[in-house]
Amino acid sequence: MTLLALSDVGKRFTGGTRFADGTEALRGLSFSIAPGEFVALVGPSGCGKSTALRLAAGLLTPDAGTVAWPDGRPETGFVFQDATLMPWADARTNARLPLDLKGVPRRQADARAAEALARAGLDGFGHAFPRELSGGMKMRVSLARALVSQPRLLLLDEPFAALDEITRQALGDDLKRLWQIHNLTVLFVTHSAAESAWLAGRVLVMTPRPGRIAADIPLPPGRDTRLAPATIEAQRAISAALGEAMAAA
């Protein structure tokens, strides 16, 4: 079973870059994800992780190779590094956006948005405007918005990178919980070996630009806490693979 498959994908950006021939972001990128997996995409900055995520969302088309969704394009939620909320709308209206765009009746959409906010740990903040919320709370609204349309695939682009350590850990734990209760498939871009060792079931390590997969590491069970020996061991393996990918480039 495959939900998403990228095979031999290449992507080059022309125009708006400093390089005359454009920037080659990806070359020969291949990986696939099965339903229910939690996959972390790890790599150095600028290796094309975000580009890969946008390709997976169908927001970009590849210059070479294919991006395929064998069961058809799944309902997809997307979380950016910044919360990317509408500052003129309160938390509930922000969380409701995907439903509004689909034309879901207001009453039903409001109920689902309130439920999504509560699940994301923001019960009672529906009428708060983004500027009244902390960075972590804004990210929770963003997460609620991504989940409100009950997606099969959740794509996250370094969602917690701008947050402090304590908030990052809390949100990471919540994300793991949401993945379990929603039966989601998650593709999570990060540059943190520790974060991916704790959250993901499988880690894809990317090379520096032009990015492709350098290592595909299935993580063993037994990672029950962030500091469990199995988690630390997984983190060590990811770090080693990252180091090798950097050295080989």
Binding site: R54, A57, G58, L59, T76, F78, F80, D82, T84, M86, P87, W88, A89, L97, P98, D100, L101, K102, F129, P130, R131, S149
Partner: protein, 260 residues
Amino acid sequence: MKRIADIALPLTVAALALGGWEWAVHAYAVPEYVLPAPSGIARAFCANFASLMGSLLATLSVTLQAFIAASLLGVMLAIGFTQSRLLERTFYPYAVMLQVTPVVAIAPLILIWVGFDQVNLALVIIATIVAFFPVLAGATLGLKSADFNLLDLMRLHGASRWQILWRVRLPTALPYLLSGMKTAGGLALIGAVVAEFVAGSGTATGLAWRIVESGNRLEIATLFAALALLAVAGVTIFAALSLLEWLLLRRWHESAINRP
């Protein structure tokens, strides 16, 4: 305390200036046809109250119509420009040309084309041309300032162009648009005054015409009264638009939030 000072200080300056003015006119026996005393201006204002109010209404009516027309035209053109690169490439140079041409220069033409029998329409057109560019510029910049990630998210969820415009681009543009409209409000008044000047006496009935006419008759006190009304009108327009801006932005935009 700071609030009281905000009101008291300008008022004190005004009282001192008016008092000094009044005293100087009497002390140096300045003739009324050169510089009337504030008391003389007040008397002229009371004596001509009804006709001055009629003139104020005429000028305000032209200003308001021009302001609304400029706002609608500016926003619609800006939407057109941001929806179609072709439209923007084709027409933006003409919009700029209209802006940089001193409009006083084409005012006589517009009056001739529209005809002196519809002089009010001509005045509105001239004032609209003067006022519309800041709205166009503000709205265009605002519509283009939408968060790229937010636009991607809209596309991901299958939003139509109309939904993207209505839900993301227009709200993003609102602060820019309101800033442009604030400038346009003042310009519409200036445009109305200039248009009345060009139209000349006998056709127009607004405050600018009163200023020309009072000047010709050496009724300088009445001229000053008309001038004062124009100033009050300008301040009122600005205050009203500032209030509108505050009402629309106070919940979310940095510019409208009071920091302690």
